[in-house]
Symmetry: C2
Amino acid sequence: MSLQLTILGCHSATPRVNAYPTSQYLEINNRHFLIDCGEGTQRQMRKYKVGFSKIDHIFISHLHGDHFFGLIGLISTYGILNREKDLHIYGPEGIKELTLIQLKLTKSYTKYNLVFHELTSKESELIFEDDKVTVHTIPLDHRIYTNGFLFAEKPKPRNLHIDNIKQYSEIETCDYHNIKAGKDFVLSTGEIVPNSELTIDPPKTKSFAFCSDTLFKPDIVPIIKNVTVLYHEATFLKDREDLCERTKHATAEQAAIIARDANVEKLIIGHYSSRYPDLSAFKKEAETVFENVELAEAGQTYDASLTLESTY
Amino acid sequence: MSLQLTILGCHSATPRVNAYPTSQYLEINNRHFLIDCGEGTQRQMRKYKVGFSKIDHIFISHLHGDHFFGLIGLISTYGILNREKDLHIYGPEGIKELTLIQLKLTKSYTKYNLVFHELTSKESELIFEDDKVTVHTIPLDHRIYTNGFLFAEKPKPRNLHIDNIKQYSEIETCDYHNIKAGKDFVLSTGEIVPNSELTIDPPKTKSFAFCSDTLFKPDIVPIIKNVTVLYHEATFLKDREDLCERTKHATAEQAAIIARDANVEKLIIGHYSSRYPDLSAFKKEAETVFENVELAEAGQTYDASLTLESTY
């Protein structure tokens, strides 16, 4: 299972009993990330059994309360839980000052290291990389400096086509490394065996793009081209598209246009305005443009592997 | 109904699904106060139908997260709800700086006035007074500067004993004001009719003392003497009294000793440590010292009027 997304909250700021603000938990290629952290996120993590200790990297899209007012509580809880590992926090400039002053005034400095990665660029940039995964920012257009995040598996090595390889007695086990890396094999006769004959394609890499909150912004399409799953906010329906410019939000139709143009496999929408009691209209509106749409719902887990199994 | 307390949260900091941190909503003599504001308080207010617009005064005991991390979310929500009235916040020094920097960095200054009343005194002081109610601080002993709060109805005028008054034809309606204020009446003969003959006692004033978090502190007893309802923290049972000194918390038995010595009518305990799965032991331990004990529970409302009705 290489990509699994759990929605912890998916509503906008107005407080309601069963409408938690934005937070998502992403497992991709055995890496575990928390994306945004609205008030009550730690309670939702407990409810949906997200292991606190698995998370070492938290990504905050922007400094509006419904996306990060739960962060200080979570940081404090890690202190209570005697965390020792570093905790990395990626977010807009100011997030470090804001966090440290709260820890100072509450006299609750953490025993573990908080490592802040403050973001200021208006261009997409690589902000995390290890041997399994990369994370790039997706510059968005909101009332305040805001980034989405693109999480992508690194390409896997090609798989050996053992039956074909066995046709060539000259190929030995020690050659496999080069073949998996995509190289052709040169026989002692000088004949070249093309790599395509010796290998089969590895599983397609999975990727997830998180885009909330933003005005309709078609110039993100090249950044998120062909992602497996796109989460895109859909605060309004197109009947209230007039509210988008002032509040810098998008409609369900606009989210679907981005999904279609970026050729994504699945679109998940959320961040619904509290003015809409019936959310099914969001799905309906998006489906007029793009077929594979899901409504985000707290506690729901989207498993890209399973989805692909049922699709192929 | 002159005193009604609703528990919004009553647990200590460790996050759990159904264990919200401290917050209480108090109605006393038609005044409405919020006391402490742990993470998730605004969600609990929605759940238990506490009217957001009724609250003009919020009292924060101390700057530990489980008592105020929900404040910034509530302040922001009042902005979304287009609040226009002033909001008064009473709490330790630093609460203003902390709040304002969050509003600045989130670019969400409120349109209504935030009026901060920062507390620094180590003696009990009057911090709120109008024609109906007074609020005094109760200095507590915790790891950080902490106050409890004593909310008290102002004494009501005496009630007229109409049957007795009618015995004296000289007493006219215009004299009632003085008689209700407690004055004797002088007849034209010079004879004095004592006020006690002309009036009956008004209903006893109600009061509520909120004491969380604190080490066992018997010197608060004179401040809270004879209150109607005392909320006192009971983080531990006496089997772990050894933890009290380091963490500056109290046991159920100690809370009950305070209640007994202060001669309160009812004791409510809460702020239970997450180490105790069965809370009934808290009630049992407190009852060995003081009879009228209730366990705080989110959503529960304690009505002092009803309690007294059944007692008398």
